[in-house]
Symmetry: C2
Subunit: 311 residues, 2 copies
Amino acid sequence: MGKYCIGVDVGGTSVKLGLFTTEGELLEKWEIPTRKENNGSKIIGDVADSIGQKMEQKQIDRTDVCGIGMGVPGPTMADGHVIKCVNLGWSECDPAKELGEMLGIHVKIGNDANVAALGEMWKGGGKGHDDVVMLTLGTGVGGGVILGGSMVAGKRGIGGELGHITVNPNETERCNCGNCGCLEQYASATGVVRVARKLMEEGKEETALAKLEVITAKDVFDLARNGDPVAGKAVEILGQYLGLVMANVSLTVDPDVFVIGGGVSRAGEILIQVIEKYYRNYLCITSDRADVVLAQLGNEAGIYGAAKLAL
Amino acid sequence: MGKYCIGVDVGGTSVKLGLFTTEGELLEKWEIPTRKENNGSKIIGDVADSIGQKMEQKQIDRTDVCGIGMGVPGPTMADGHVIKCVNLGWSECDPAKELGEMLGIHVKIGNDANVAALGEMWKGGGKGHDDVVMLTLGTGVGGGVILGGSMVAGKRGIGGELGHITVNPNETERCNCGNCGCLEQYASATGVVRVARKLMEEGKEETALAKLEVITAKDVFDLARNGDPVAGKAVEILGQYLGLVMANVSLTVDPDVFVIGGGVSRAGEILIQVIEKYYRNYLCITSDRADVVLAQLGNEAGIYGAAKLAL
C-alpha cells in the first residue's frame, strides 16, 4: 500500500495537480497549462511528464503511490470512458487508461463537478458526512451527488448535472443546453446578472445597477445587501430556484448536507439565508432538513476530490 | 445459507406475504388483515404468527430461511427505525427488530414505495438493470430510487419521495403534505381527476366528462383516447409534470430505466407516450435517455421487493 496519492484537476486553461498523503494532507500543489491544440492530444502526456518529474524530484517510487485520480470537464462513464469534453477538444477517449499506462500507476477518472463534491465531502464543507450534494455556482452551475461516500456518475454520465434541472418551464430564453428554464439561467454568476438586467429593463423600480457600465454577480449581491430593490429581487429569484432544486434533490436522494461553492458563494451569509428560506418552503414533508453550508476548499476542491477518488 | 426468503408488505388494510426461493420464485402468497386498533400494536405479532404457521405447515425450519424483508407505509431510517406510520397508527418503533426477535430470523425493513421499486428491479419492468427509478401512480404518487441494486432510503427516510417534488410553484391548492404544486396533485389518480374537473369548470371546451356523475382516472384516460379535448388536456398536464420530474431525476442520479406502476399505469401506451414526449423535451443535454416502461408485478411488487431486501 502506497503512502501517497495524486489528484489531477484538468481545466480548460490549466491543469491543477496535488500530491497528498493517503490521509488527505496536501503536501504540494502545482499547475501546468492545458495545451488544447490538436484536439487536446497533448494534455495527458503533459500530465504524465509533470507527475513523473515531481516524483523524481521528491524521490517517490511508483510503488509508493497508491493511485491517481483525475477530474475532467465533461461526462465520464462508469468504465472510465469520456464521450466528449468540448472545453478540451476531446472526443471519445479513455484518458485514465492512457495516463495509467504512461506512468504504471492506477488512474481513476470522474466529472470535475462530481470530483469537487467528493473533495468537499472529504476535507471541506461536507466533512464528516457521506451523503453530500454540492452545487457550484460559477459561470455555469455545476453539481455533484455523493452517496455512501461514492460519486453518483450515472449510466450516461449525467448524474449530478443539477444546473440543467428545469426550474421555470415558462422561460422563453434558451440555456446553452437547448432547454429553457434551467437552474443555471438564474443561479450562476451569469444567470443572476441576466435576471438583474431583465428586471432593470422592465424599469418598475429605481436601481443603482443602472449606474454601472458592467454588472457582475458581486455587484448584484453587494447592492442587494444595501437594500437595492432590483438587485434584491434577482437574489430572491436565485434563492427561490436553488431552494426548489435542493428540495427536489432531497426528495430524490435525501442527503445529509448541501455544500454551496463557486464564485457566487463568496456572497456568504446572504446567499445561505435566501437559499434556506426557499428550501424550507418547498420541503414540507419533513421538518428535519439537510444542512446548507459554504464550500471550504475553493479552487482546491478538484485536486482533493481527485486524490480521494484514487484511494 | 437458507433456501427461502420471505417478503412482507404491510398495507393499511391488509398485510401481503410471500414465500420465495432465494432465486426469486414465488412459491406461495397469502394475506392477513391489518389490525390497526391500539395504535397498530398487534400487527407485528400477527405477522409473526402467520409466518410461523406457514413455516410449520410447509415444514420449513428457520435455518432454511435466509431472511425476511418488510415494506411499511412510511419513512424508515437506515438503522431500521420507523419514525411514524400514520396509516398503521405507529409512532416511533423498531418493527424489524421486534419481528426478528419473535421469529429468530433476521428482518430488514424499508419504505413500501422503495421496496416496490426493488421488486420491479428484481423481477419486473426493471429486470436486468441495477439503477432503477419507480413512480407509482395510485391514490397518491409514490417513488423509489434504486442505485447499484440498493434502495436509496436517505438520511431522513425521504429518499424517493418523488410525489412531493414541486412541479408548479404557482399552484394555489395545497397538497396533503402542506406544500403547493406537488407532482401528486397532477399525476395521481386523484390528481388527474382534480385537474380534469378544474378544466371542466373553466368551461372553455365541451367535454363528455360533464355527463358523468363520478369521474375516475380511467374515465379521463378513456375519453382522452377518444379525442375529448378536456380529458386530453388533463392527460397532457399529467405527462408534462411526470416528464419534468423524470428529467430532473435523471439529472440527479441518471438511472437506466423508469418503471411506471400503480392503478393509473393501466392506461398503458397513451400514458408512456405522453410521459416520454415531455421527458425528452426537458432533458436536452443528452439524446441518450433512460427507458420508460410499465411495471409488471402489480400488487406483488411489494412482496417481491421485500424478499429481495432480505437477501
